[in-house]
Subunit: 228 residues, 2 copies
């Protein structure tokens, strides 16, 4: 006896899963988490379009039914995976301390910050995620925004707060800290990230990279008319 078909899908996209995406049992939670983990690997390795749900399921040994129970669709799975990654990003990415000790050298603080930023942005997982987000930005605009806010925006906020404090303390001449933060990030991050996104070999390694960062910091500080 065939059950009543819920086939009356409206022309407009349902968008949000009508299924309850929250598992009610422990095993369910584990399966859900495992699926997200596997999805991350597959999606970030192959991109959304090329990735197949079968491969995700094979990797965790579960079954496709679970995917559709928890996530409703391939896009739903992708979205949850990205959201999960964003949360991890927020939890894991601590930047150098707030304003820095008052006595510490601004150039050193910024250099440390630059190193940390590059280290974060060049992590292979981060690059893969960046790639996936750029590739699918038009299909998932809300995810792109989420990613931006979980990642780059937090770094910018921290940095501009620091710059503002230094400006008010008279250590830097930095009347537009938000813009200056953007410019600092651009100086520091773009070149290696650009190469990484385009898969260009070789990546700038430790020594060269650090020299590049020092150069960038110095340029930035000259522009802010540091008083040493």
């Amino acid at each position: 006896m065939p059950k009543v078909k819920p086939q009356r899908i409206a022309e407009t996209r349902p968008a949000k899963a009508p299924q309850p995406p929250v598992p009610a049992t422990r095993r369910g939670e584990l399966r859900r988490a495992a699926l997200i983990d596997a999805a991350r690997d597959i999606f970030l390795e192959q991109g959304f379009a090329r990735a197949s749900i079968d491969e995700v399921v094979q990797r965790v040994g579960g079954s496709k039914a679970s995917v559709y129970q928890y996530f409703g669709s391939k896009e739903g799975l992708f979205g949850e995976m990205i959201a999960h990654q964003c949360q991890q990003l927020i939890d894991s990415a601590e930047f150098p301390g707030r304003g820095g000790a008052p006595g510490s050298d601004v150039e050193q603080v910024l250099l440390q910050f630059a190193r940390r930023v590059v280290q974060l942005f060049l992590a292979p997982a981060r690059i893969a995620m960046h790639r996936a987000m750029i590739a699918e930005a038009e299909r998932f605009p809300e995810l792109a925004e989420r990613f931006y806010e979980a990642g780059p925006k937090r770094g910018l906020a921290l940095l501009s707060a620091y710059l503002r404090s230094q400006h008010e303390a008279g250590t830097l001449d930095c009347p537009k800290p938000e813009w200056s933060a953007i410019q600092f990030m651009n100086l520091v991050r773009t070149y290696p990230m650009f190469r990484a996104l385009h898969g260009m070999q070789p990546m700038p390694d430790g020594e060269d990279l650090d020299e590049f960062l020092q150069h960038a910091v110095r340029l930035f500080l000259d522009g802010c008319r540091i008083k040493r």
Copy 2:
């Protein structure tokens, strides 16, 4: 820090079509060109994986047989399309004049350059191409490199030549023109391009954007210790 790629990675990929990709008749040439045009639209709209050859063929009214005669495979078509775009890029993208008139204001020259760069890099077709290249960088490393050389590298070369000439003329203190060129480009290009690649709305429009560019140029010149 532009490090030269030291050696070519062993190529397991067959890559080159065994078919003769050159049409011998006039109609063939036209068909081939039309296919590349349509392929550009479809691929840049949908990305490599989601694009379908049938759609490309439908758009020009031809048939799949031609695609496989001229390009051998979907990847072949994609590659030829990208190469064609790169050539167009080279042909079309003239930057502000070589060294600039000796008497002209450096700040104005750089600002003009910045405007031109942003205009070029933010063109929707360019953004779409960038997206496609980033998404498929791992599958088509040689194309990514070609794209880089047809696009960004040329701008960098022009700019660093200009910076070097100004350094030698004593107008700028710019002992490492290649690095400085990279940094200038990073300052000028990154922020709007980043937003565009991530599909974020709204894009910075005329007035704000120009103010941003002026800010960037000024920061750069302060760093180069311009003598006015």
